[in-house]
Homo-oligomer: 383 residues x 2
């Protein structure tokens, strides 16, 4: 059996994702579709609208054969680390190829990556001007600038893949909708951006959602407790008001002095949006600030995140019979630990950060995220 890999968030799974799953299988002729998916906290530093179990099940029902959780210490990180964590897991599972959406799949990412390979070290710091620095180097070396989010991410996949002893085949495909951040659902369209889908879900605009998400996504959105930053704002505010300022300075991705600004604004702000808006300055993007807020909420320090990143693992969220067969095939040569159930030892040690991230998420929806959970075993839906 050969496998194709996808790196995803499914926030929530919509028709564009379903197309991606189908195309990935068609383009590669793979026997098994492996999906690495962010858990409850996402790359843009926000909680997932639906929890990781719900989203994993939707993935299995819409074309995935095996769903692996991208640990929070890679998921809620800048693009290059998000990409590194995902590529590492797909490679560990011996995937032959990786298929991902880009705004401009026609770009020669291989060449672009090679052109500034020497600069890589310079961009691996957490700082506000990462994208700017990166693009000015890229522009100088190649004349190309990457402004679209998924082009950037594609570049990061190439970079991470090049670092492997045995790189996989990378297959960028055209995304179904051009603008990732479009907030409206066009009448008659089968596709909408994640942002538009989430907005419609929070607005309970079920009619407009029907045409752009699979039926089971719609069911999940109408029946589950949808989550967003506003739900966690009381906890974040409380945390920033009580934490010792020296300690908050150690939170992951916190910039020099930003902890003081965050503490001051936590005193004044009346909502999460108000808070982020007040903390915002030219130095930091909203996404960066949201990731810092996530680290603060989960009390993730830079030291523990970096230590965890050196010990990636394969946490199985679910599989179809095909996924199970594939897992059985690769199981004996896995270079990373494979976890299907979480016991107390895992909770306290190897999986501690994911457990913490899930436990905080669970404060709102009341659904256990790790304890007593075991991987979904779903019948294959597509063939």
């Amino acid at each position: 059996m050969q496998a194709v890999g996808l790196i995803t968030e499914y926030n929530p799974l919509h028709n564009g994702h379903r197309y991606h799953l189908q195309r990935a299988q068609q383009l590669t002729g793979a026997d098994c579709v492996v999906v690495v998916m962010s858990g409850n906290w996402l790359q843009r530093g926000e909680p997932a609208i639906l929890d990781k179990w719900t989203r994993a099940k939707l993935a299995l029902a819409n074309g995935a054969d095996l769903v692996i959780e991208l640990p929070v210490f890679f998921a809620a990180q800048p693009a290059h680390l998000f990409a590194r964590g995902g590529i590492e897991l797909l490679s560990a599972l011996n995937c032959t190829s990786v298929v991902f959406g880009a705004e401009h799949p026609e770009l020669d990412f291989q060449r672009l990556t090679a052109a500034i390979a020497a600069n890589q070290g310079d961009f691996s710091h957490y700082n506000a001007t990462y994208a700017t620095q990166f693009n000015s180097a890229l522009q100088a070396a190649t004349g190309v600038t990457l402004t679209a989010a998924n082009d950037m991410l594609s570049f990061c996949y190439y970079t991470a893949n090049q670092a492997l002893a045995h790189p996989m085949r990378l297959v960028p495909i055209k995304r179904q909708q051009a603008d990732h951040a479009t907030t409206a659902i066009a009448t008659g369209s089968s596709y909408a951006s994640g942002t538009a889908v989430r907005q419609a879900a929070f607005d309970q605009n079920w009619g407009s959602l029907k045409s752009v998400v699979p039926t089971d996504t719609l069911t999940a959105l109408t029946t589950q407790r949808l989550q967003r930053w506003a739900d966690f704002w009381p906890f974040l505010q409380y945390q920033l008001l009580t934490v010792d300022i020296a300690h908050s300075g150690q939170y992951d991705q916190m910039a020099e002095g930003l902890e003081y600004r965050m503490q001051t604004m936590a005193q004044r702000a009346t909502s999460f949006d108000d808070f982020i808006h007040q903390v915002k300055s030219k130095r930091y993007t909203y996404t960066r600030l949201q990731r810092v807020a996530t680290a603060a909420l989960l009390q993730l320090t830079q030291a523990e995140v970096q230590a965890a990143q050196a010990h990636n693992y394969l946490r199985v969220l679910g599989f179809t019979p095909k996924g199970q067969a594939y897992l059985h095939q690769v199981k004996k040569q896995l270079p990373l630990p494979l976890y299907t159930k979480i016991n107390q030892k895992l909770r306290q040690h190897a999986l501690n950060l994911d457990y913490r991230a899930g436990r905080v998420y669970q404060l709102i929806n009341g659904q256990s995220q790790d304890l007593y959970r075991q991987p979904w075993q779903l019948p294959a839906i597509i063939g």
Copy 2:
């Protein structure tokens, strides 16, 4: 002018407290009644039912001339430290005498204190058997056992007072109701325990309260957002779920290994009462556990509490003209800093722990506890 001092919590102020204020003045013939009062967090490790400003105003309206806040690092502490902090402030204000309620004011506290003065060091540790150890030493030395809460506290006042270069005159008086913890309000009685008053207030049993609290206390109880531990449980649970276990081990009054037990129970518990009940064991009293929970909620470490205890201060919450005149009289020779307004520097440094304690309290009632607040200036009501 001469002053008599009281050490109080007023949770909330009831007729017993009013009697205490009047008797203190009558017994000593003092010109000014100085009250040291816990702020928003109390000796039993719980939030006050009404905030410190509301309670200070009630004190001024019912016989106090000057109200000083007992800082949280003395207020939410075992009896001997609570007593030490209070006595230190009254002595700093040059009070001539201190009047307090005891179950058995006829006891020769002076003799009891002297009898086990040599043992004092042994009881100053935070451990579950403090009262037991203390009483066995006292029993051995004097044949007396102190079981009632206010007898114990009286003993602590004597001990703290003896440590002063110029001890004040201590005047124990009989409390108006024998049992501090009685939860019912007896029909026709003008007095009830604090526990009974709080219970009636949370039950909105205004009719029964009318006879046992002053009118302005009743008004405050019916119009303000009443607070209790249940309000803060979501924050405490969140904190215990996310904090690094090595850090929670440093919280004030945390016993060896108790942090693990608290973390485990925070996962399971469904309410604050459930949590404390599950954490409870023979080693710890409920009061002790509530104080640890308060430290965890406010993220107070033992190191910062101990450092703060070495730098007590006089935070003024309000005064009558008499209190103001008295303050003017003693102002020039105060051995401790006097604070009437809180600026940013105080908030970040000297008053940081009180500010934090107030800011968390404020999360529930929405009333600023430090910023933009200045001492009440009330006309004298009695005297």
